[in-house]
């Protein structure tokens, strides 16, 4: 029943359209690209569509016959509606807030040049690797009535949830938009200024439209992350604010109410598809190609009118560092005294019986897995980004491409529990008995990172004038070479950014990893969860110290990536 049949029409080899409907030189590469797209599609089919389909089938076809009796019941519950409403508005608000804060930061970190910029770029990514429970604990420590910010009275309200949304996702906006912004030619802005537009008007009428595809991309991601947020909502909302995701979790893991879960999953899926469609439309209507002129696009030193953006950046960095600071402080304390004991224990495999390996070994595991996952995510992500950035003339193929674009976002919009359990029930037959295979960990992490990679690269790729490729072709370059010439150099920095991102995602990934990782080869987040759910100050202390280590490792890796010089790409 579960034999994989991943042959979507999207990739049927052949001409990309009716004969002659496309510039001749692209047709050959069209076939190659179509074939290349099969690889990520196969991944998507096996590791996402199949499991989710399996779970939905279990829900709706319990005895092999369609049974929709539970649908009205689930939809009729007051709780369902409340949960849907909260999911919707909190995600929207979180997305907006993240954009508002993230755009000035992206500007400051990618358009201005000042010392420490690279480090700050790395710092904003840090939240992405922090386990949600740790972050939840830190937020609550700050905001609970006994905490330093307890007087605000935010504990248990929705405010910290929104703050956490921003905290986690600032990096998504900063990196996705920054990667695009970094390469924009300044002259479009100059020409607006030369027509009398003040800096704000320039930004609104020229810069923002140019960035719009990246902004929409980032917003889509953030919305998906927020609307499927699980740990932070539970921890910070104190159960008052259930989301669709928490509800599905509850129905699946507690009640084993697969039908109820399936109904909610379909609801979630429909909402996600709707959102992706709207986003794709918004992106498409704002898309236009832009000249990219290396030297003129280069960042400049800060000027007086950059002060607001710099102030917001300082605020954002402070905001990111505040919970992290409290994390560092608590990791250095045990029993009311300052100590390095928590860190010392990390290197000692025998420090606690809870762990089978020392945290140092877990760091090794994490790094190794993250490298694998990053490679997979980047290879697949590049293929997908290239495929979806091409513009076939035929409307049919354009729709296929747009569909592909969205397809790889779907995994973010579906509950991890659904995918995880789906895995167990569908991939249980040879040759796809992958349930206990160690390759699954990096693969699953890569599937999580893939949308981020695609969303970082696609807007940039689409903004490159196709005539650049044509110019190369017109000088005799075969399609791949033409793409490399025209797009390689522009893509170099965004690829770096995406690589760092993918790396951070897989370092921090917990949901799928906890499900799939072998107990003797846990990653750092898995270890942190094991530690933090045990009684005893030393376990909590070690968990916090391990979180600090994870953060430091991440920031270091990011900072190194930031420093990589990509000048050599310019020489083809």
């Amino acid at each position: 029943m579960n034999t994989p049949t991943p042959t979507p029409t999207a990739t049927r080899p052949g001409r990309t359209a009716a004969p002659g409907r496309r510039a001749a030189y692209l047709s050959g590469s069209g076939v190659a690209l179509g074939l290349a797209a099969l690889v990520p599609l196969a991944f998507l089919a096996v590791f996402f569509l199949l499991p989710v389909g399996g779970m939905l089938a279990r829900g709706f076809l319990p005895e092999g016959r369609l049974d929709l009796s539970g649908v009205p019941e689930v939809l009729g519950r007051a709780r369902t509606l409340r949960v849907l409403w909260f999911t919707l508005w909190s995600s929207l608000a979180g997305t907006l807030l993240t954009l508002v804060l993230g755009l000035p930061v992206a500007f400051a970190l990618y358009r201005l040049r000042f010392p420490g910029r690279g480090l700050l770029r790395a710092v904003v990514v840090m939240p992405f690797v922090l386990p949600t429970v740790v972050v939840g604990v830190m937020f609550r420590s700050l905001l609970s009535s006994g905490g330093p910010l307890g007087s605000l009275g935010w504990d248990g309200t929705w405010v910290p949830i929104l703050l956490a949304f921003v905290f986690f996702n600032l990096a998504v906006v900063v990196r996705t938009v920054g990667g695009m912004w970094e390469g924009l030619d300044r002259r479009a802005e100059e020409s607006a200024a030369a027509l009398g537009a003040d800096p704000w008007q320039v930004w609104r009428t020229v810069t923002l439209p140019a960035l719009a595809p990246a902004v929409v991309s980032a917003a889509t991601l953030v919305f998906l992350f927020c609307s499927t947020a699980f740990g932070v909502v539970l921890t910070l909302g104190g159960l008052r604010y259930g989301t669709v995701e928490t509800e599905i979790y509850l129905l699946t893991t507690q009640f084993l109410d697969l039908q109820g879960a399936a109904v909610l999953s379909v609801l979630q899926l429909a909402a996600v598809v709707l959102m992706l469609t709207l986003a794709a439309r918004a992106r498409r209507s704002t898309e236009s190609t832009r000249p990219r002129v290396g030297a003129r696009a280069a960042a400049r030193g800060p000027r007086r009118h950059d002060i607001p953006a710099l102030a917001v950046t300082a605020l954002a960095v402070g905001f990111v560092l505040l919970p992290v600071g409290s994390l560092v402080v608590r990791s250095l304390r045990r029993g009311g005294a300052w100590t390095l004991e928590n860190y010392r224990a990390l290197t000692d495999p025998d420090s606690t019986p809870v762990l089978r390996v020392s945290v140092v070994e877990a760091v090794e595991n994490s790094l190794r897995t993250a490298v694998d996952a990053t490679v997979i995510a980047m290879v697949l992500g590049l293929i997908v980004a290239v495929v979806v950035s091409r513009r076939p003339r035929a409307a049919g193929w354009r729709r296929v491409v747009a569909g592909l674009d969205g397809a790889f976002m779907l995994p973010l919009g579906i509950s991890a529990v659904t995918v995880g359990f789906g895995f167990l029930i569908t991939l249980d037959r040879p040759p796809l008995d992958l349930r206990t295979s160690p390759v699954l960990v990096p693969v699953a992490q890569a599937m999580v990172a893939l949308p981020l990679v695609v969303r970082t690269l696609t807007p940039v790729l689409r903004s490159i004038d196709p005539r650049q490729r044509e110019a190369a072709a017109a000088l005799g370059a075969p399609p791949w070479r033409a793409a490399w010439t025209a797009e390689g150099p522009v893509l170099a920095r965004p690829v770096l950014a995406a690589t760092g991102f993918a790396f951070a995602v897989s370092l921090g990934e917990f949901g799928a990893t906890a499900f799939l990782a072998r107990p003797d080869r846990p990653t750092v987040p898995v270890v942190i969860y094991q530690l933090i759910s045990r009684p005893g100050a030393e376990h909590l202390g070690m968990a916090l110290a391990a979180s600090v280590v994870l953060a430091v490792v991440t920031v270091t890796v990011m900072a190194v990536v930031e420093r990589l010089r990509v000048g050599s790409v310019g020489t083809f």
């Binding site: 002659g20 409907r21 496309r22 510039a23 001749a24 030189y25 692209l26 047709s27 050959g28 000249p291 990219r292 002129v293 290396g294 030297a295 003129r296 003339r393 004038d465 005539r467 650049q468 044509e470 110019a471 190369a472 072709a473 017109a474 000088l475 005799g476 370059a477 075969p478 399609p479 070479r481 033409a482 010439t485 025209a486 150099p489 522009v490 790409v569 310019g570 020489t571 083809f572």
Partner: protein, 357 residues
């Protein structure tokens, strides 16, 4: 041979290239002239394989190019806006095609330096395109397409951003290169003199269609339609009595008065051949360039100067000639002295042509 048959390219409702049939022998250079937006660039892109044909075919050396991707055609196209690779140095841009052909570094460098020299940018190799002026960028783009040493060179306004003297020099050099290498070329240009300097043949496009094609001199002297004539600089169009007044039928062939043909030597006179075949028809239109009528005290025509505008090396007059009406004419000195005066005008038949009515 390059052979275009009924080539049509549409963009939605716009027909950018409309049923164009053209052929060009190898080693020849064709200049495509036409007003802005008439489809010149689209035509070039279609030949290069960058626009799909909605109808018709492009053949090169007897081979139909349908389905042959751009990079396999062995052509080189210089884009109207250059399309330099912003991330590569000037030298890498120019050497791009050579690199594709895996030419050695030393050889490539030599060739790039040669081309930089040719376009007047020696020592610019290490620069980035963004740091170049508009004209410098255009010259780099030209050098890049020349480096490809293609079977067919397609140039889209290669010299439009250059000042006159550089343009003239480069046009001469370009002609020389094309001739010595025997390169077949199609070039789009706005500049009539450039077309004359570089090209053997000329095609005039109007609204997507090639309305006239022939040797440069032919087109110049015998525009096929009034639109073509207007486009290549004829400004005054006369029929019937007015035409006869300016150029009396009796004098049309050979019999030009000394005053009218003073500067002429022994070249074949007057409007070209077709006149003879249709001498009796009144429906033909006499077209005059401004230079066809010059202020000359011994001229045969007389009129009142209505307007006089000094340009760089002449004065443009509008003269109301007795029995003819307003015509464009050429004065010699700054015009404020002339307005309202009566002047005599002499006809220079080399500035005249007869068009089918």
């Amino acid at each position: 041979m390059l052979q275009l048959d009924e080539v049509t390219v549409r963009f939605g409702a716009t027909t950018a290239v409309d049923d164009v049939t053209l052929s060009l022998d190898e080693g020849q250079v064709l200049a495509v002239l036409g007003p802005s937006g008439c489809g010149k660039s689209t035509l070039l892109r279609a030949v290069a394989g960058l626009e799909r044909l909605d109808a018709g075919s492009v053949r090169w050396r007897e081979r139909d190019l349908r389905g042959v991707p751009t990079h396999e055609r062995g052509f080189a196209l210089m884009f109207q806006d250059g399309q330099l690779f912003a991330h590569a140095s000037v030298a890498d841009n120019i050497g791009y095609a050579l690199r594709l052909r895996r030419l050695g570094v030393a050889e490539r460098r030599r060739r790039v330096d040669e081309l930089l020299e040719l376009v007047g940018l020696p020592g610019y190799g290490a620069r980035r395109p963004a740091t170049l002026s508009g004209g410098e960028q255009q010259r780099v783009a030209l050098a890049r397409s020349l480096a490809a040493d293609p079977g067919l060179l397609l140039l889209d306004e290669p010299l439009s951003a250059l000042d006159r003297s550089l343009r003239e020099r480069l046009a001469g050099d370009l002609r020389e290169i094309l001739v010595t290498t025997g390169t077949t070329a199609v070039l789009v240009t706005h500049d009539h003199d450039e077309a004359f300097t570089i090209a053997d043949r000329m095609a005039v496009m109007l609204a997507g269609q090639v309305v006239q094609e022939g040797t440069t001199a032919e087109v110049w002297r015998a525009p096929a339609t009034r639109e073509v004539a207007e486009f290549i600089g004829f400004e005054t169009f006369l029929t019937g009595a007015a035409a006869d007044t300016v150029s009396p039928p009796a004098r049309r062939v050979g019999a030009v008065s000394p005053a009218d043909r003073r500067v002429g030597t022994d070249a074949p006179a007057g409007p070209p051949g077709r006149i003879d075949g249709s001498a009796g028809t009144d429906r033909r239109v006499l077209a005059l360039r401004r230079a066809a009528l010059r202020v000359d005290p011994s001229g045969r025509l007389e009129g009142v100067v209505r307007r006089a505008v000094a340009v760089s090396d002449a004065v443009h007059l509008t003269v109301d000639v007795d029995g003819v009406g307003e015509v464009a004419a050429l004065g010699d000195d700054p015009g404020h002295h002339l307005e309202g005066r009566r002047v005599r005008l002499a006809l220079d038949p080399r500035g005249t042509a007869y068009l089918p009515g």
